[in-house]
Symmetry: C2
Subunit: 351 residues, 2 copies
């Protein structure tokens, strides 16, 4: 009844979304602030009759907007139904175990091994430094590989990799293997590698509208890279789903992308909240990893991550813990509103 | 740079969507009527702040609505980002060349071989009868196979297969191989096989909101089948994209699904238009296949499909022709509004 492919699957488990009671939700790295108010005006005026037609399969208006914002050409952009779909297409297009293992950090986005199992790609996890930072030399020194992928800032550690280390990695690594940098959280203070795509034709940048753009509900992600990489992603899309992005999301995404003032103000609030939470936690003796994202990894001696999670959940606050050796002492806390962070600090357990 | 998988791809080519001038668009089987007006009211009242949160990954409200409408249980329903995505997941989950070829009709939805190439599934096309109808015996008599898929009504022929023939096929075929019936066009007068899913645990029904529900722009499809089949589709989804259906589409779909009066009235208009066009064309000596869909296949002796297409395009009307042996004498014409059909009849070429 089921294909042999099914035997290899170990599906991704998204953060819990319980409905038994109302929680302060700091567990799935959503943005606590609303998206651009221009979206409200658009929805009021949208001619809903238009929904009877298929959306633009190329998402041209949206891609033009992305190209304008990032100073790239439209043919260097690709959009999909969330960055998860863009990543899935990239795994299909670029990573092939015949050429070696795919490399990604020991602690990283937990969907990467799921994609590997889905498409039958072997992978090798590269250890982090003891401070949880990525050591680029361990990637370039690894045995024959079919590509590299990592988030920057990394998840769930939140730690940023500097642009000069990324350049060093790209210089040392085979120019015939694709390097995907998953910049889901880069807008929260990090330096994007997007300006490198003209120099490194094997570099693909993947982005999402779910975090800094406050549009997790719209499901929109995008990629930027050399035109041949983008063209390959289009071939994959057109072999899977010709119209991955619905009409409303294409338009909402273009609006959000054009409202830079609002983006800057929303991310500034998140960054301020992150610095405030980090500083307050450290004052209380917590170990907080330095974060460039809209979340922090924090732990306290004498408490396991699971214990912190359970005690906070009991008090109406959801955070995320990881049942993974090396991460068991931490919880990942999404940066909420200032009020939410104050309640969190008030309800934190002590050892 | 590119995986070996890429060498196998022959992407699907959707119907053209030219932007050089305004056409009467009868080429992609969209519905010419607007979706339920309740969607307008929903969009006006929608709290756009909600877009900052991820949508329900299980689409529970929408699936409950589908279950209620079709008299099935929620765990017998699955939704995806267009029926194309649902079909892609089904190909991944159920069809495995180790068990034999996948079987589908010689003339059928041209995305089926694309999915096969995408996932590495071998297939065998089963000839139709000379009147273009499906002969179910040729499926059950075929060599060892890994499954069957066909649209009902078939596309692009539009010809319906009766429920008793479907029962005959299911009775004769291995109960351990999945049979997918793609009912994209069933609402235009056909009898659905959905009531058979409790009897045949290997039967999966795939549907779309793009045709009878007038929501091609929202990208929504669904499937109904025995709970183990649905559970497998969820495993595939959660290995590819945890949140395939955005928040607005989930809600819009539930509204459309609940507005049965509007659905009945919209489909009645399409059926009346189809019968009118068929009758008028036949009066003028055209050969029109009997259609149960929102399109017809029509041809006239002395004219190739391409010639009809080109002459109509020149006059501002888009239809679709097929560069496929056996179909070259036809064009596929989507049923538009009554006014559009009158203009079409006025501008038809003669041999």
């Amino acid at each position: 009844m089921f294909s042999r492919r099914m035997q290899n699957l170990t599906p991704y488990v998204p953060g819990e979304q319980p409905r038994d009671r109302s929680y302060i939700k700091l567990n799935t790295n959503e943005n606590p602030y609303p998206p651009s108010p221009q979206i409200r005006a658009f929805l009021n005026e949208f001619d809903f009759d238009a929904l009877k037609r298929y959306p633009d399969p190329l998402s041209n208006d949206l891609r033009n907007q992305i190209a304008a914002k990032y100073g790239v050409r439209p043919e260097q952009t690709f959009v999909g139904n969330g960055s998860d779909e863009v990543l899935a297409f990239a795994f299909y297009a670029f990573f092939d175990s015949h050429d070696g293992n795919l490399l990604f950090p020991r602690f990283s986005y937990s969907f990467y091994p799921v994609y590997c199992d889905f498409f039958g790609i072997r992978y090798h996890k590269i250890d982090l430094n003891s401070d949880f930072s990525i050591d680029v030399c361990r990637f370039s020194d690894a045995d024959e590989s079919c590509g590299i992928i990592f988030p920057n800032p990394n998840a769930p550690t939140g730690i940023l990799l500097s642009l000069d280390k990324i350049v060093g990695l790209l210089d040392d690594y085979s120019s015939d293997r694709v390097v995907v940098i998953d910049e889901a959280y880069i807008d929260f203070g990090g330096a994007s590698a997007v300006n490198l795509i003209d120099t490194y034709s094997n570099l693909l940048i993947v982005r999402t509208f779910s975090k800094s753009m406050c549009l997790a509900g719209a499901r929109l992600g995008f990629a930027m890279g050399a035109a041949p990489l983008i063209s390959a992603l289009f071939s994959v899309k057109d072999s899977f789903n010709s119209y991955p992005v619905n009409m409303l999301t294409q338009k909402i995404g273009a609006i959000a992308m054009s409202d830079d003032a609002w983006l800057q103000s929303a991310t500034a609030k998140i960054i301020a909240g992150r610095e405030y939470l980090t500083s307050e936690l450290r004052k209380s003796g917590w170990n907080v990893l330095p974060s460039g994202a809209n979340f922090i990894m924090a732990g306290k001696i004498g408490l396991s991550g699971e214990e912190i999670y359970l005690r906070l959940k009991d008090k109406g606050i959801l955070v995320r813990y990881f049942d993974i050796d090396g991460l068991k002492d931490f919880v990942r806390i999404t940066i909420g509103t200032d009020d939410e962070l104050k309640i969190l600090l008030h309800k934190l357990p002590s050892a």
